[in-house]
């Protein structure tokens, strides 16, 4: 843990950087370059997790950290400040095109890797070799980044395999998550649920190569459809000033798994949740599990593949209904409404017979496609 003097010194340095930044950029209405010092304050409401000042060192091609103050607020999970700070430093290092080496100046706890970050590295089983010289090497950064992104063991293994086969760098996969292009659970669906996840994650296909591009779009669309449900379930609402508002930083305690065999999502709630987009009012109680077969299909495809999907649903039931409280859902986009009424009725009755709920997402295939294109384009502009 840093000493009081080190913290005070860090705060002083931070204050100076903020003043410099105001004078050089804010007041002149200019934007800083990667190689300019930039101060950041990472907070959630009125709780500060970390104060950081970084720049890309052009000469050494590394990320230089001049201030790194970390707090561990007791209301949050252990080492949350270090997680926030390290996640940002690694992503910034990647974004600036550097070697992924991170160097802490003498302003940071006398020029060492901050103690909280060392604790986190120990927790993740990563050995830092240059703590007192103030360096994190690219080799160490790679392991820290992969540990921090929060992938499931199976997804992590697949990422490692792709890296070993030279298909994609693990840093890029982590950056796509930390940089917000894909949510963690969307990325897991892509990584575990498709045959060539590296192509989609690298935005490797151009629209001119229609088959390759369309394949990526369809996988992306399915992942996004699952992600839309994740967000709906994770969302929490607060009562503020007489109004119900959506919380920006608090999410419902919900564990999300992915079944790659059926392209299905498994949700375990720790608290009672309202189940969205079904025809009746149903709650998922604490400790209960819901299994959702995700199918991003157009109206024509729903008609064509419903019997296959019903087969998958039956197998899902056999796999997960050993626990009788598990609820099973069939998630499709709004395009379902374009299916003929007779066929809709047929689908609903067959699902009912199996005890499966039809879940109609508010999104259509057109909006899923549009979002998939946007994400692929963002990925194309991201470091490979």
């Amino acid at each position: 843990m840093p000493t009081t003097e080190e913290v005070l010194h860090g705060l002083e340095a931070f204050k100076k950087h903020v003043t410099d930044y105001e004078n050089s950029f804010r007041k002149r209405n200019k934007l800083p370059k990667n190689f300019d010092y930039r101060p950041y304050r990472w907070c959630s409401r009125d709780i500060v997790f970390s104060l950081l000042v970084v720049k890309h060192n052009r000469k050494g091609n590394f990320l230089e950290v001049d201030v790194c103050l970390i707090a561990n607020p007791p209301q949050y999970v252990e080492n949350s400040g270090a997680k926030v700070a390290l996640g940002f430093l690694l992503s910034e290092s990647y974004k600036c095109g550097g070697s992924m080496e991170i160097v802490f100046t003498s302003n940071v706890e006398g020029g060492r890797v901050p103690a909280y970050i060392c604790d986190l590295a120990i927790e993740m089983g990563v050995k830092l070799k240059h703590v007192f010289e103030g360096h994190i090497t690219p080799f160490e950064a790679r392991q820290l980044y992969l540990g921090l992104a929060g992938f499931s063991q199976t997804a992590k293994e697949k990422i490692m395999k792709m890296a070993v086969d030279k298909l994609i760098s693990p840093e890029r996969v982590c950056f796509l998550i930390m940089g917000g292009v894909w949510s963690l659970s969307e990325a897991e669906s892509i990584i575990l649920g498709s045959r060539h996840p590296e192509r989609l994650l690298q935005s490797a296909s151009d629209p001119e190569d229609r088959h390759l591009y369309l394949n990526d779009l369809r996988v992306a669309g399915s992942a996004i459809l699952g992600g839309v449900l994740d967000r709906k379930l994770l969302r929490t609402e607060l009562f503020e000033g007489g109004q119900i508002v959506e919380s920006e930083d608090e999410e419902s305690p919900l564990a999300i798994d992915f079944d790659s065999v059926y392209f299905a999502k498994i949700y375990h709630a720790d608290t009672e949740l309202m189940i969205p987009w079904i025809d009746e009012n149903k709650m998922l109680s604490a400790g209960q599990r819901m299994v959702v077969l995700v199918r991003a299909r157009s109206d024509g495809e729903i008609q064509k593949y419903f019997l296959n999907d019903l087969g998958s649903l039956k197998k899902l039931i056999a796999k997960y209904r050993k626990d009788a409280t598990t609820m099973v859902f069939y998630l499709v986009p709004r395009d379902f409404e374009d299916v003929s009424l007779a066929f809709q009725t047929q689908i609903i009755s067959q699902l009912k017979k199996e005890g499966v709920y039809l879940m109609l997402a508010p999104d259509s295939m057109t909006s899923l496609d549009k979002e998939a294109i946007r994400r692929l384009e963002t990925g194309r502009r991201t470091r490979q």
Binding site: M160, G193, Y213, T382
Partner: protein
Amino acid sequence: MMKTSIKLIAVPDDACLVERLDLRVLMSKALKIEERLRKGVNPDDEQRRYHILCDRMEYLGSFIGMNKSVRSVELGIEYFELLLQIQARFPVEFRSARVSANFCPWSKITEQISLFENLVKRAGVSDRKEIQEKIRFYRDAEKNKLHILELQEQLITEDAEVNPEDGLISKFLSIPVSDKITSAKDVNSFMALRNQINTVIADMEKGIQTGVNFSDLAHNVITEILREFVYQGGRPMYLPVIYADGSKGKPLPIRCLKFRSEKLKALSKHPILNVGMMSGRHHEMDEVVKVYFFRNQEISIGKTAAESDEAAYVRAKEIFEKLRSEGIYRIAFFQTGFQPAVVGFYRALTEELLKREKSAPELEVIPHYYFGEEYEEGRVWS
């Protein structure tokens, strides 16, 4: 797991019109877009339009397939894997032969299927069942004057979960990646770039994926240090290029030219032409130069630095090729700080000088570095 299956349908002329949509019109529009994309005209807009047209053709194809009696063949999920294999081996030909296109009008079938046959032979997959089926189907459509649509279906196959490979973690940890620390001592910019390039060369020799980051470096530093490495002795090699936005440029040839002072002497009698690097960026330069090498609009349109680098490189190559037939040129190159254009220009120049190495000296570039109101002359490239 999601997998892709491809189905071909052959559409006769009289089945092309469905309500207001005419397949022939859509195909003709899409072909025109492909042509514009090859020329690189407004690629983003064109790609968007192309996607819409392909989408409509697919919709039309599904409709025709369901409601009219047309010939069709399922190529299955392995065909998609073959496409990826062919693309990995012959990326340029893969695009030019339209292997991954979802339509082919009758008028193009002969040309397209011949290119396809040739490509699959070279890729060593011509005897695969799926390939044979496709060739047969195209030949049949050619004979019967039918247009072809290739429709995709996403299948979800219930594959068993794969167990992790033995020793995966140790294999992952032994992927070459630098585990050294860089000296944080302040050195001058020239020395810093020199050190960076030397580190990259050393890393490459160890198999570490790496690259020289040219972003945010002064243009005179890039030019002078690059020149040093281009004219350096040793095993010729390509230096990987990256930019701070994460994009990857084409590698730069280094240790590939020999500097001959006699060349300079031979050229010294000829007049020097003052050329600015890029129009519309520093108007104060207009009085000094006769012409600009690049039009700002052509170069800085790219979204990423690597795309700007590529645009500058391609344009510079075209210009140098043209200059070859025009005789001797001594160029005072008045350059400014747009790094991707600088890198693209000197990559093209190095390649041009390499091409001219054995012929009589006819091209010389003298960099003039623009620093606000002053110019500083750099070392000659010849």
